[in-house]
Symmetry: C2
Subunit: 324 residues, 2 copies
């Protein structure tokens, strides 16, 4: 069982029997959404959707909205968030010239840059079309704010590339933009539909969980093992992305502090640098920071029915357990 | 005076004194919209906006909405349409690796693919944020339908590239998606805000004018002169884009019908092929087709106050006159 499946099972046990049918309906809805714009987009949009992913953001929408929120409306919000997420992945793969994602060939690898760019654009515009049907302007605002933040996050990552002197604050700001913003949007959308719990408070919860998610993802890039993460250790180092483990490790190991990332010649050397980072205890420190974020997020959850609060805590724990 | 400035002047004379202040407010609004997402996006988003363009789509929004529509709401609709248009230009330049647009260096040329991709994404998401403030779900639907059509149009163009056997119907379908859809959206948004005139009828008017606009743009690519169009003659031929003049010319000139586009070695040869297309009378035929579209569009305009109908006819004429 995957960590997410285990989380869903725990959430259901905690009082969320409405979750599995909503996740199933989401798959159906997503699969139907990319048709009607020509065969090519139907194919690659459909494949992108079908390749799956953890559906963590829709899960947050469903859990935050709660069992009493109208199913069709919550479904649209969940689909919209997942569509924006999928759109950014397809576009990122174009920019990174990535050949594989989730073990499948990327759209750019299968069909070229133009098809991939158009597929991302379609998924993106379908997200807003989907949300429009909820006739709730705040939801469109939430999603476009998140999309704008994602664009900013992508640029922050590039602006700071190869700069090992990036501060923790700057690193966290980048993670907020490129990852936490969409987790926040998921919780806000759920709150707007559920009508239970303060959207700002739930948004803050989503942001913290999203931040923890990114921190732990960055830890995994250094810790490996590759067999579990599906990519080589040190991939971030090789493309110049400076993450928390390296920032912390540079404070503790003077040789790492002097080290120029551009000197890493290939995967082998990247793995050696990963070992060196790990030896400083920076991975534990980064993990602790992520866990603290999740604990704080759980502690500051706004007033919610007990079953719903418990379910949200389980989702937050699930994000962490995936990496434990 | 540019053709668009002349059109605006004529529209004002026909009873549109509200137009110039709205166009001025649009520039202010667009300039303010890209700040708040980091310096890089503010700079390149701002430069993209400032590089201008004809603002034809916002003009359609303003004219269709009429003088009595609430200024702030119409402004948001106009800004949203222009933002989507600008976003697609920035992204197209990435895909085409274009170095100049409107005589200025493109974002991709100045700042690279990542910055350009993110700039386009920002403009795109700002469009939906802008429209959300109108709290009118139909408007979000209209804009996302147009955005999806643009993605489809881009792919149709690529799918048909180098295929000189493309039919007129298929060519028109591509133009509807890649150009007419956003003109249609501009008119629909204006109609939704103005509340005067049937949105479907006005949308059809916009679609026809947009289609004529694209046809005439394709004529200009063959006819030149380069000094007027700002690009070399036969640019479409060189990147394999088969347009109406070539489709018509192939019916009339057996040698052109046998000709393989891939055999064109460079701008010189492209110019020769342009001459050959022009010699068949295909340019006049294509122009006539565009003019007929505009006349039909004007003839089928739904019920509107006289001044507004006259203003719309002038905008349609302006699109044509730009190319006469």
């Amino acid at each position: 069982m995957t960590a997410v499946a285990a989380t869903v099972e725990a959430v259901v046990a905690a009082g969320g029997p409405h979750i599995p049918p909503r996740l199933a309906a989401l798959e159906e809805r997503l699969a139907a959404l990319t048709t009607g714009y020509g065969d090519v987009l139907a194919r690659y949009g459909g494949e992108t959707i079908a390749a799956g992913g953890k559906r963590l953001r829709p899960l947050l929408v469903f859990v935050v909205a709660g069992p009493d929120a109208p199913a069709a409306r919550v479904l649209r919000a969940a689909a919209a968030v997942e569509l924006v997420h999928s759109a950014t992945l397809v576009h990122d793969d174009v920019l990174d010239r990535a050949s594989l994602r989730r073990g499948q060939p990327t759209v750019v690898a299968s069909a070229g840059r133009r098809v991939a760019a158009a597929t991302g654009d379609l998924l993106f515009s379908r997200a807003f079309a989907e949300l429009a049907d909820n006739e709730h302007a705040d939801e469109v605002r939430v999603l476009s704010a998140a999309s704008s933040a994602l664009a900013e996050g992508e640029l922050l990552q590039r602006a700071d590339a190869w700069d090992a002197g990036v501060t923790v604050d700057r690193y966290l700001r980048r993670c907020e933009r490129k990852t936490a913003s969409l987790f926040e949007a998921a919780c806000r959308l759920g709150a707007l539909e559920g009508g239970v719990g303060d959207p700002d408070g739930l948004g803050a919860f989503g942001r913290a969980v999203g931040l923890a998610f990114q921190l732990l993802d960055d830890v995994l890039d250094v810790s490996g093992p590759a067999a579990r993460t599906g990519k080589a250790r040190g991939t971030d180092l090789l493309d110049g992305t400076v993450t928390l483990p390296l920032i912390v490790a540079r404070d503790r190991d003077p040789e790492l502090a002097r080290f120029d990332l551009r000197a890493i010649g290939g995967p082998r050397e990247a793995e050696t640098v990963c070992e060196r980072i790990a030896a400083t205890g920076a991975l534990e420190e980064s993990r602790r920071r992520a866990l603290r974020l999740v604990e704080e997020a759980k502690g500051s959850l706004p007033g919610l029915p007990d079953a719903q609060r418990r379910a949200l805590e389980l989702v937050a724990d699930g994000v962490v357990e995936r990496y434990s």
